[in-house]
């Protein structure tokens, strides 16, 4: 859908995921989209270098998000939101609904 515009299907998925879910780390994205970790890290690096993404470290994990200071942030988010609404519901549930609420230690899955 937007992959030609963004240059690759994986880049489109990463951007849609970060727009919808807020933050993610590279292994989370690689597992979620069954992509290679190297490929995901490569896309994240390029997007961060362009100022589109920003990252911060939590412990040893680097978390990525859409850069709120990116000068086309409003326009990019509008594009991604419109693109996201066109995704099939099954794909949304399968790929874009990670658990974010807390889980008590020792509680069975």
């Amino acid at each position: 859908m937007l992959s030609v515009l963004f240059g690759s299907p994986l880049r489109e998925k990463i951007l849609l995921y970060l727009m919808e879910c807020g933050e993610a780390y590279s292994l989370e994205l690689a597992k979620n989209f069954a992509a290679s970790l190297f490929g995901v890290q490569n896309q994240l690096r390029r997007l961060e270098e362009a100022g589109i993404l920003a990252s911060r470290t939590v412990g040893k994990t680097r978390l990525y998000s859409l850069n709120p200071r990116y000068f086309l942030r409003t326009e990019l988010e509008a594009l991604l939101k419109k693109g996201f609404r066109a995704l099939p519901e099954e794909e949304v549930q399968a790929r874009y609904r990670p658990r974010r609420r807390p889980r008590r230690p020792g509680k069975p899955l």
Binding site: E49, A50, G51, P68, R69, F71, R73, T74
Partner: protein, 211 residues
């Protein structure tokens, strides 16, 4: 050989790139250091290049100026500070800044100009860090610049409104008022009058106030 401080490294980088036809503008924390005479000490210099200038061209020029590249940073053997080139364009929040210009900077190497964002845009730039990252250091730096330099507070308030950050801007106003000694909750008297940022004709004739 003398070590280069922040001011001299800014001059060396800016003048060297300019001589090679590359126009860059200093932004970020280094501007805070220069505008506040190091009340806040930045460790790096963020220069923004034009959209049409590829980073490879800048990197080649930086090598000629004696820098070595380490990832995204450029290191000089005579300085503990480093230089970086964040992606263009130059913006403050969602807007382009006002006109950047050359400000005279004084260092042990002499008085030479460096093109920088204005003090008003420097405050906006720091407030972006506070607005979007909740970074209190950025708020402190915005206050330091507003105290040290003439800034257009009315323009900053209007800009914060356009960024949909009026609440956060109120925190900046309160912090500034507190530093100026005004009681909390009341605006400092000077805040109703926007500060004069640009030099007068007399100052222009004599050269703007050096940093």
């Amino acid at each position: 050989m003398r070590r280069m401080g922040l001011e001299e490294l800014a001059q060396h980088t800016y003048q060297g790139l300019k001589a090679r036809g590359i126009e860059v503008t200093l932004s970020g924390g280094a501007c805070v250091s220069l505008y506040t005479k190091n009340a806040y000490q930045s460790s790096d210099l963020d220069f923004i290049r034009g959209l049409a200038v590829p980073i490879g061209e800048v990197a080649k020029a930086m090598e000629e100026l004696g820098f070595t590249r380490e990832g995204r940073r450029f290191l000089h053997p005579r300085s503990d500070f480093h230089v970086a080139f964040p992606p263009p364009p130059l913006t403050v929040g969602e807007e382009p800044p006002g006109e950047a210009r050359e400000y005279p900077v004084v260092s042990p190497g002499g008085r030479r100009p460096v093109r920088m964002i204005s003090p008003t845009d420097c405050v906006k730039d720091r407030l972006c860090g506070f607005f979007y990252w909740n970074d209190r250091q950025s708020l402190d730096q915005a206050v330091l610049v507003a105290l040290a330099r003439k800034v257009d507070l009315a323009e900053i308030a209007a800009w914060a409104g356009r960024e949909r950050m009026r609440d956060r801007h109120a925190e900046f106003e309160a912090a500034l008022a507190e530093k100026r000694g005004a009681p909390r909750g009341k605006k400092a008297a000077t805040e109703s009058k926007p500060g004069r940022e640009l030099p007068s004709h007399k100052e222009r004739a004599a050269g703007a106030r050096p940093i």
